[in-house]
Symmetry: C2
Subunit: 305 residues, 2 copies
Amino acid sequence: MSPQLSITILGCYAAAPGTFKNPTSQVLGIRNHMFLIDCGEGTQVSLRLNKVKFSRIKHIFISHLHGDHFFGLMGVITTFSLLKRTAPLTIYGPKGIKEIILLQLKLSQGFTSYPLHFKELESKSPEVIYEDEVVTVTTIPLKHRVYANGYFFQEKEGDRKLDINKALNLNIDNAYFNKIKQGGDITLEDGTVIDNKDITFDPLPPKSYAYCSDTAYKPEIATQIQGATALYHEATFLESHEHLCKPTGHSTAKQAAQIALDAKVGNLILGHYSTRYRNLELFKEEARTIFEIVHLADDGTVFTF
Amino acid sequence: MSPQLSITILGCYAAAPGTFKNPTSQVLGIRNHMFLIDCGEGTQVSLRLNKVKFSRIKHIFISHLHGDHFFGLMGVITTFSLLKRTAPLTIYGPKGIKEIILLQLKLSQGFTSYPLHFKELESKSPEVIYEDEVVTVTTIPLKHRVYANGYFFQEKEGDRKLDINKALNLNIDNAYFNKIKQGGDITLEDGTVIDNKDITFDPLPPKSYAYCSDTAYKPEIATQIQGATALYHEATFLESHEHLCKPTGHSTAKQAAQIALDAKVGNLILGHYSTRYRNLELFKEEARTIFEIVHLADDGTVFTF
């Protein structure tokens, strides 16, 4: 069975891009959706390298307006136009992002070949910013030097799974299959009522993904994302540099793990490492003193849950 | 003898960056100067890969406000700050560039760690925009879909070279050496006047570099850059696609060569190739039907003259 959640890390390093160390960007696959989260410089090239189809991206979520999280956005928007995209694209991000983009489009005398929409954010409380039949996206207010949001992607409970053999044995017409998947009982021609549970399986439990970068340690995050399948939490520093967290608005690996523990998530993914560190395994070791299931993001890594 | 001119191609492809095909940016070394010309997305990483010292770049010249020529600029400006640069940086480019940069700095609540100056351009005639004791930089008005300038970098004539052996044989005190290099005659203690030409060599002829991208064929360029040591002229298309030049504001390899011929330049460098072409040698072959000394730019190539 294909995974319900996949996370492709395009870049996961803090601050200035280095040679082969990309700034933040990732692609979340959740059911039929493909969401781009943050968009550091070079993201469009990373999308190509990781063979992500540009046309599948219809929503881009920007956490905050520091360059290592959005300097690649204008390039993505422009390239989509060069490719003569027609499908709408919606950008979610802090208030001001629309002005940045429209000013540059105006000065380049450029227009997008597709409808470009914006949802600018300024609330300091969680708000649902996207919802359709399969997924809800809610902001996760973060604690950083500038206004910043993480994003909580929650799959909705899917339809029940039809036990096709039982349905065929009972001669149920396939015209009823959708009703059954939606939980309905069935009355056969002889009047027998078939309980829905007798001809269906429970759906897969819905999955969820919490993206939290950049942020200082903020316990309220754990309250909001209880039981998430996976949490990506920034870990810019090791505990040995904890004194740098307050002035920079970042977290240590240990603090990220504390959020994972308190939120009882299934998996913790660490990223946004300061480039001062050479051995990323130290982040995993530090986090595992608090929380067991820890994964290290790296450029090009794909996680599936 | 070290070259007076060096051109490091960081990127030379048109439109959207591809994997291993960078958009436009190059570094000109001229005497003690290192100028950055255009700054497509990913330029800061290319600078690192090509081992260009960030601190040596004090002036950045942007031709026009299409993304493939300036989407890397915010990243460069920001990274210079992260590196705690203190030396001033001046940006030359079309009117509007200052607003784009200051808006993004404001929204990221960022300040540069160094003085950031702007020289915004809007004249449609050539104008001297930088001058010091060794070099003059003049705009080259181009013909593109948006307001665009090339840049003409002209070395000034240097001091005369002292014939040190003759000077020592004549017992000339080294206190006079600077005067001699600047062309002065010398009167010896016995009253003999030594003609400057007898104890000096001519200085190296001054060199010059004309950067012209993006532009449609514009004969006036040749008039302005007569005798340039090297001309970088865009060649987005081959002659077989000449019909695309007018709607896009670009040139063919043959048209670039015609400018080189009419301007009697020493060398023609072609670049800004459309990514539709796989065999760049065709550009060289086409240009050489008009002008002999043709070089092909490619990412990472260094030319010295």
